[in-house]
Symmetry: C2
DNA sequence: TCAAAATATGCGAATGAGTTGCATATGCAG
DNA sequence: CTGCATATGCAACTCATTCGCATATTTTGA
């Protein structure tokens, strides 16, 4: 456990949004001003492999991260603002598992993103 | 309508899988041996913008394409083989729309991928 | 507590998918 | 068939991410 890693962990804890590596680098600099981008990338890869962090691709070229502790949820991306809304739906979860089963598979992971605009 | 574009279109028609740009480039060379990668990329971008092709990211770094004519479907990725299976579920479609609505949004697009292993 | 071994860091260079500038080639309208 | 608009090939570029390597920090174990 190094200074750099502590800084990244803290930056991550303080983030309510879904930051990308550059945002995390900026935020981590507050705790370790000399931290390098490469270290952020390396650490995020590590955390992802350890299952402590989830990596998402919301389609703008940069990977975005969130802590993995929370309960299972999916994302709705507000196309008007870029805002990301988390939601959870039990029926949906069940349905995913059930569809995989129907096809002869055990579900290991999944990804659901809804891209939507506010209803007027 | 140029030789290069015809070659790409033919390569795409002949593809039952979900080819990436490099695969398309290789396959298109059969019809136009001098075609450049840049042309494949440019043409795929064009086709995607025109809505004739759908672009996917199944998580291995290269975008993958399929013709958009088919009925709406989602993808299950067999983690053991990399094989991609298409499926359609009416309940699931309805549920996505309904969830977006519940959150106050009109669904514009969505992405669902199930990553799974064969049931033994 | 301290030195050696192990691991992580910072830097800049490298990678790899995708894009772009530009001179040339091709397609199409008249 | 000529002229102009558009597309192509090539090589150079972008941008996120990774890597090599020399140095710095942590950990281990006596």
């Amino acid at each position: 456990m190094t200074t750099a890693r502590r800084a990244i962990l803290r930056a991550l804890e303080n983030s309510e949004d879904h930051p990308d590596a550059l945002m995390l680098h900026d935020r981590a600099k507050e705790f370790d001003p000399t931290i390098a981008q490469a270290t952020v990338y390396r650490t995020m890869r590590l955390l992802e492999q350890e299952g402590l962090v989830e990596k998402h691709d919301f389609g703008n070229g940069r990977a975005r991260y969130e802590e993995a502790e929370k309960e299972q949820h999916d994302h709705l991306i507000n196309l008007s603002t870029g805002e990301i809304i988390e939601f959870h739906d039990t029926n949906l979860e069940a349905l995913k598992i059930e569809i995989a089963k129907r096809l002869g598979f055990d579900l290991k992971d999944h990804r659901l993103e809804l891209y939507a605009v506010p209803r007027e």
